[in-house]
């Protein structure tokens, strides 16, 4: 029988991918982006950022607060920005290294402001999110193996006006996961406090707190072509402290970006590159990554759609752009939906918007748990999305055609008729199979005997089980107490 020879490594691609935007497309997008940065520029009211831009060689109009950034500066920034960014975790084994290239990881969404609450009968209601919701959400993200990071998904709104909500959120995150996380609502004035909290986790070791920062941050330019002062300050401070920062443009095609997806891809690229350049001017080599939650404005409804195919395309394009620039894509919107509840709409939109950027190789796709364009988080949806992510991971494997996987020996041995179930090779490789926890693959009778639950109800039971059985805390009791005491002190100062 035919035996293939060992192939040379030509045209040998492992896994499934999506080659959208070719080299000349990417070059053209880049060239025109440079044109925009050089001739239109970026507006920021932050005097420090303007001065940094000016000192680095930008043409700055301090009156109009506009910096025009020459191409060579952006080029320098892209060269000095690292191709690998490590997100440190309390459990070192869970560190995540974001690498430029088609390496896909998953994150939950951050930050929602409402929680969709389920009861045992599958009835649900929506309400303002609390610190207790955040704790539950952290526990679930820590448990779900689909998520490489456990970003805080939801705001502790019960602390607004009553204390330092941001510090409460950081504290809950530190105490309820051993995975890395990015804090979605950092205050630029809060960096010293965040650093102190990381130091407490490291038992007072300042050097460790600096070398392995635990509270990663993100910031969002204001489209089109503006970066607000809080945002530039986050970038500058994170860069100087070597804290991983992801610059996330949230442009909307037809609203804050041109109606064409291509045009919006371009303005959001300019915004992100302006942020990355600022980080590199502030501190060469700073760990800054490329982010995007760019989508369309649904012009018939006046909303920013989170479940549109256009968003899937934009996120995939962003993945390709960041690969072109050789820097990690530290956040691309995916696994999103406009639906208000975990239903058919959520299922399809999440599958579509998760799959497309994943196939394009986005390095960190965030959206788990999200409903209603990011307004609302559902714990049940987190568990469902863990299944969605698991299945997309199986898709990414594609097929790997080798002589051994073609299984000629097995086929010869089993021969005609019979079956492969009891083969040793079957046992050995059965873990390769996709294995959803919530989505039901049983026959109807088994499903009925198990209570005929739909995905949301099955997820609700899983949520209850996780909250009952999973302890996500990786810290000693004393450390937890010290963190609580620190936050309580800051609350007092805040109320004075």
């Amino acid at each position: 029988m035919l035996r293939a020879n060992i192939p040379a490594g030509l045209e040998h691609i492992e896994g499934l991918g999506l080659e959208m935007l070719n080299k000349s497309d990417l070059k053209l997008i880049n060239e025109i982006t440079m044109d925009v940065l050089e001739n239109v520029g970026i507006e920021t009211k932050d005097p420090e950022a303007l001065q940094l831009y000016a000192d680095a060689g930008c043409e700055v109009d301090f009156e109009k607060c506009v910096a025009k950034i020459p191409e060579y500066l952006v080029g320098d920034a892209l060269r000095s920005a690292p191709g690998r960014v490590r997100l440190a975790a309390i459990d070192k084994k869970k560190n995540l290294v974001l690498r430029s290239g088609p390496y896909v990881n998953w994150a939950p969404f951050g930050v929602g402001i409402q929680c969709l609450e389920f009861d045992a009968n599958g009835k649900h209601k929506v309400r303002a999110s609390t610190e207790a919701d955040l704790k539950k959400s952290m526990t679930i993200c820590d448990w779900c193996d689909g998520f490489s990071v456990a970003d805080p998904t939801i705001a502790a709104r019960d602390w607004t006006e009553k204390g330092r909500a941001d510090l409460h959120e950081v504290q809950i995150a530190l105490c309820n996961t051993t995975k890395p996380f990015t804090f979605g609502e950092p205050e630029s004035d809060g960096f010293d406090d965040y650093f102190e909290m990381a130091k407490i986790v490291y038992g007072g070791d300042e050097e460790l707190a600096r070398k392995r920062p635990l509270i990663n941050v993100c910031n969002c330019p204001t489209s089109p072509l503006q970066i607000c002062e809080n945002s530039t300050q986050i970038t500058i401070k994170a860069a100087r402290r070597m804290i991983p920062d992801v610059v996330i443009s949230m442009s909307m095609a037809g609203g804050t970006g041109p109606i064409t997806l291509e045009g919006t891809l371009l303005t959001q690229n300019a915004e992100v590159l302006a942020g990355i350049t600022l980080a590199q001017i502030a501190n060469k080599g700073a760990p800054v990554t490329y982010g995007s939650a760019t989508t369309i404005m649904d012009l018939r409804r006046g909303t920013a759609s989170g479940g549109a195919p256009e968003m899937a395309l934009l996120s995939a394009a962003v993945a390709r752009l960041s690969q072109f620039y050789g820097i990690p894509c530290g956040d691309a919107a995916g696994c999103w939906t406009d639906s208000k509840v975990p239903d058919a709409q959520a299922g399809f939109e999440k599958g579509m918007t998760g799959m497309i950027p994943a196939l394009a190789g986005a390095n960190l796709i965030f959206g788990g748990g999200l409903l209603e364009m990011g307004q609302t988080i559902s714990l049940e949806q987190l568990v469902i999305d863990n299944d969605v992510i698991g299945m997309i991971k199986n898709l990414l494997k594609g097929m790997h055609v080798t002589e051994s996987r073609l299984s000629l020996d097995e086929i010869e041995e089993v021969g005609i008729g019979g079956h492969f179930i009891s083969r040793a090779s079957t046992r050995k490789n059965m873990n390769e199979q996709s294995n959803p926890l919530i989505f039901d693959r049983n026959m109807r009778g088994s499903w009925e005997r198990n209570g005929a639950k739909d995905a949301a109800l099955a997820a609700h039971e899983k949520v209850e089980w996780i909250l009952e059985n999973h302890n996500p805390c990786g810290l000693d009791r004393d450390v937890v107490k010290d963190l609580e005491a620190f936050v309580a002190r800051r609350d007092k100062e805040f109320l004075k």
Binding site: I421, S422, R423, A424, R427, M430, M443, R444, G445, S446
Partner: protein, 216 residues
């Protein structure tokens, strides 16, 4: 540990390791040492199989493990069989099942899983294979005097033959002495009721549970 204990331990491990060769070897060694085949089966093979079955029910092990373990067990028992017959020993069984995929249908993998699981549960299974003529079901029922005659069908076009099986068992005058079981994708409880079959099983676990309930 005596030689006998060692051999029984080996028989057990052969099942836990899904190792047919080891099961055969343990069986041969038992014959050489003059150990009762029945003892090797019950204390070795069956004991290990019960453990595997328990793990399967808990969801720790899956079909590939159970079927592989059962194949190893069958390989071992095949070696012991002639000696057992010589000694006229018979292993305990919960009951006898004649099983096959019905005439016109060659989709037999589900039936094979059911047959294996019934065997593992302690039934003596006579597997007639696939595309089994109705007359062969009837002849086998007369010959082996089973507790259950089980037929599977995957297609709506072949499931109608399950009606004929019911009728021909009646014509042969043995319908009252056996229970009938039907299964396969298009079959339902309603179908079983409609044609007068005694048991409908949705899957292998269901088949085992209902067969056990029947002989209890």
């Amino acid at each position: 540990m005596t030689v006998k204990d060692e051999i029984i331990e080996k028989a057990k491990n052969s099942i836990l390791d899904f190792d047919e060769d080891m099961a055969e070897k343990a069986a041969h060694e038992a014959l050489k040492e003059g150990i009762s085949p029945l003892e090797v089966i019950e204390k070795g093979f069956t004991a290990a199989m019960e453990f595997i079955g328990g793990q399967f029910e808990k969801g720790e092990l899956f079909l590939p493990h159970v079927l592989a373990a059962s194949e190893a067990m069958n390989a071992g028992i095949a070696v012991l069989k002639p000696e057992m017959e010589k000694r006229s020993e018979e292993s305990k069984s919960l009951g006898k099942v004649v099983i096959g995929t019905i005439e016109g249908d060659i989709h037999s993998i589900g039936k094979e899983i059911v047959a294996s699981m019934l065997g593992i549960a302690g039934f003596k299974v006579i597997d007639l294979g696939k595309d089994v003529a109705i007359s062969r079901f009837v002849e086998s029922a007369q010959k082996f005097k089973p507790d259950i005659v089980a037929s599977s069908a995957l297609m709506t076009t072949t499931m109608v033959c399950q009606v004929q099986l019911e009728e021909q068992l009646k014509e042969a005058g043995i319908r009252g002495q056996v229970k009938t079981m039907v299964g396969g994708a298009p079959c339902t409880q309603k179908w079983a009721d409609q044609i007068g079959a005694d048991i409908y099983a949705e899957n292998a676990n269901d088949a085992v549970a209902k067969a056990k309930a029947l002989v209890a």
